[in-house]
Every structure is written in structure tokens, then in C-alpha cells.
């Protein structure tokens, strides 16, 4: 199973169209592998997101 990296919900359940659109202007917040909240650092020209279990995206 994989998870929406914006809302953390299962990608196979519900409509994530709004999440997809919002992600154009947001970094991911949830690990797509385990739905843990990630540590996210936004920088002026990028971002990085790290899951404690699955590492940096």
C-alpha cells in the first residue's frame, strides 16, 4: 500500500485530486511508504523531506 504524501491517506481510497493540485505549491508531508509525518525543511530554492524509517525522499 502507498499513501498520499500530502494528506497521508491511502492513495487507493478517496479522491486525492485536490492534494495533487496543492502539491504544486507544497512539499510532501507524509512518507508515501508508511504515512509517517516526515521532517521537512523548505529552502529558498528547494526542499528536503526525511522519514525516520525510509530516509530522505
Amino acid at each position: 500500500m502507498s499513501f498520499c504524501d500530502r494528506c497521508g491517506g491511502p492513495v487507493g481510497e478517496g479522491d486525492h485530486t485536490a492534494c495533487l493540485a496543492a502539491r504544486q505549491l507544497e512539499p510532501p508531508r507524509f512518507c508515501p511508504h508508511c504515512r509517517r509525518r516526515m521532517k521537512v525543511q523548505v529552502l529558498p530554492a528547494g526542499w528536503h523531506a526525511t522519514c525516520v524509517e525510509h530516509g530522505t525522499l
Binding site: L25, E26, V40, Q41, L43, G46, W47
Partner: protein
């Protein structure tokens, strides 16, 4: 009525003295057909009293999330079920962020922390960060660390922090509905100390927090009374998990009315596009605002959300023949 608004705006152009509260409210209530002429006169006011240059700034979060305050718009409050986790930025990454900002031609780099006010650990991190940036990058350093003590103000001055940001966020009358863990007057106290210290004062807010247009006018006049060097104008970008998550985004024309109104209230102030402009105004609205009184932009990403690529804004400024303020002019 319409002629009176335009006459009042023309007086701002001639005198450089901002509109009073009734005048600001009239602009905020102006009918759609009057919006373009109001933006045009606001642009002329900006050009006459501020000049054609645009001040470009980058911002970065030194300490993200886990904030003890309950600002209802903020995804970094530790009191809400927001997906934003607490994280600290290390010094090499802070320097890299400053380099990324300087590479855009920006003159300002603002270091921001999600806190009520700085503790000893944050001040130490800032001290080390400012020193490392100074060794690597030629850029003005600003800071936004919440409410300060006089000793902290003095230390920031000693560090050479050029400008301090502390937003009043909204009108005094609306603030208690947006924040309950501290008061508008506590924020004002910090701003007073910053002004008296000689640092430049940066103070703005967020439009679309559920305030009435009357409160929007009240806020513009309260900023006029403060007379900051810079006013960053944010538009609410409703964040998941916050109390304002379902608040509607401000209508584009209301955002443009606000830009004209704030410029006409604050004819000599740096008026900066900050967060939320992408979702509120889009590309076309960004252009209209720059032709309607805005004379500064935050380029690149924000603290927890992403912005347009810096190149898109810089290309727009070139297209509008608006020169980017050089560091020598900023010093």
C-alpha cells in the same frame, strides 16, 4: 463618491501623505469598474515616493514547527493537528539558503523561527548563523524571531541584523479571534523596542483571516501609525489542520483593492508581496499588483510552502522594466 476617492488618491500622489481610515475604506469598497484606475494611481504613488526599484528578498525557516502559540492561520503551531513537524536548520544549510537567495540578486535574507520569542539556544544558533553567512555571502540579514526582550533587541543590533520582522497580522480589533496565547499589544511592544534600537522595522500581516473590510482599513491605519520601513502583505493560504483550514481564499479583486488601499495608506513604505499571492492572485494578479503599488517581493519558497521559481518573478520584473534594488543602494 467615486470622484472623491480618486481626488483623495491624487492628493496622496501630490503630498506623499497617506489616506485616512475613511479613505482606505472607500478604496476597499470601490466598485470593480474603479479598480483599474485605483491601481494606476497607487502605482504612480509608488513610483513617485519610492521609485522604480523593486526590493527582492529570500526567507528561510531556522526553526520550523512546534511553536507554543496558537496563531490560527499557522501550520507551525504545536497546538494544532498540522502535518508540519518540528525541525531545526543546520548552519551549513542556512548558509546555502543565503547563497541561493543572493544568487537571485536579492538584497535581503530573512531568518525566521517559529517561536513565541527566542530562547538561549535559538539566539546561539542565530549568532553562529549570522557569522557564517557574513563570511560567505554579501547580503543584508534580517530576522523574525517573535517577541523580544530589550536585551535580545540589543544583541540583534550588535550582530548587525539590518531589519526585524514582526507582523501585527491583522487589525487590533480582530486579533483576539486569531490568536489567544498573546496579545496585539505585546507584539506592538516588541516593534516599539525594535524601532528605538535603530533596526529597520518590518511589519505587515495576512489578509483574509475573516476580518471585515472595516477591520482591513483599521489595520492599514494602525500600520500607518507604526510607520514601518516595510510592510509584507500576505494573503491567507489555508493550511490543513489549522483552525482556518476551511477559510475561503481572498477573492483576487479584493486582494488587488487591498494592495491599492495599503499603498495609498502607506505611500513611502516598502510594500512587499509575501505568502499566498500564488493561490490568491496567480501569475496575472502578481503582475497587476506590481503595477498597483507593490514594490518588493519574496522570491522562491516560503517557510513551509513553495513559491513560484525565482526566475519567473525576475523575468516578470524585467518585462515590467522594474530594476531590482542593488545591494549598494540598500546599504
Amino acid at each position: 463618491m467615486s470622484e472623491r476617492i480618486m481626488a483623495a488618491a491624487e492628493r496622496v500622489l501630490e503630498t506623499g501623505v497617506g489616506l485616512d481610515e475613511a479613505g482606505v475604506l472607500a478604496v476597499l469598497r470601490a466598485p470593480d469598474e474603479q479598480l483599474t484606475p485605483l491601481l494606476e494611481v497607487a502605482h504612480r504613488v509608488r513610483m513617485r515616493w519610492c521609485g522604480p526599484e523593486v526590493e527582492v528578498e529570500g526567507i528561510v525557516s531556522l526553526k520550523t514547527g512546534g511553536c507554543p502559540e496558537d496563531c490560527h492561520f499557522c501550520s507551525q503551531s504545536g497546538l494544532f493537528a498540522s502535518p508540519v513537524r518540528a525541525v531545526w536548520l543546520d548552519i551549513p544549510s542556512l548558509v546555502e539558503a543565503a547563497k541561493q537567495t543572493a544568487a537571485t540578486g536579492a538584497t535581503e535574507f530573512c531568518i525566521v523561527a517559529a517561536v513565541r520569542g527566542p530562547d538561549a539556544r535559538l539566539m546561539a544558533q542565530l549568532r553562529d548563523g549570522v557569522a557564517a553567512i557574513r563570511e560567505a555571502v554579501d547580503i543584508n540579514i534580517a530576522a523574525s524571531l517573535g517577541m523580544l526582550t530589550q536585551e535580545q533587541v540589543d544583541e540583534l543590533v550588535a550582530l548587525g541584523v539590518h531589519r526585524y520582522n514582526h507582523n501585527l497580522e491583522t487589525a487590533r480589533s480582530h486579533f483576539p479571534l486569531v490568536v489567544s496565547t498573546h496579545t496585539w499589544d505585546e507584539r506592538w511592544d516588541t516593534l516599539r523596542m525594535v524601532r528605538e534600537s535603530g533596526m529597520e522595522v518590518c511589519c505587515g500581516g495576512i489578509l483574509g483571516l475573516g476580518e471585515t473590510v472595516e477591520q482591513r482599513a483599521e489595520f492599514a491605519i494602525q500600520l500607518q501609525e507604526l510607520d514601518p520601513h516595510e510592510v509584507p502583505l500576505n494573503f491567507l493560504n489555508p493550511r490543513p489542520g489549522t483552525p482556518l483550514a476551511e477559510q475561503p481564499v481572498l477573492a483576487p479583486k479584493d486582494a488587488l483593492r487591498a494592495i491599492a488601499a495599503f499603498r495609498l495608506a502607506l505611500p513611502r513604505t516598502i510594500l512587499r508581496y509575501a505568502g499566498g499571492r500564488e493561490i490568491t492572485l496567480g501569475d496575472l494578479g502578481t503582475r497587476e499588483g506590481l503595477l498597483g503599488g507593490v514594490n518588493a517581493v519574496i522570491v522562491g519558497n516560503y517557510l513551509t510552502t513553495l513559491g513560484r521559481p525565482a526566475t519567473a518573478d525576475l523575468e516578470l520584473l524585467a518585462d515590467l522594466k522594474m530594476p531590482v534594488k542593488a545591494l549598494s543602494a540598500a546599504l
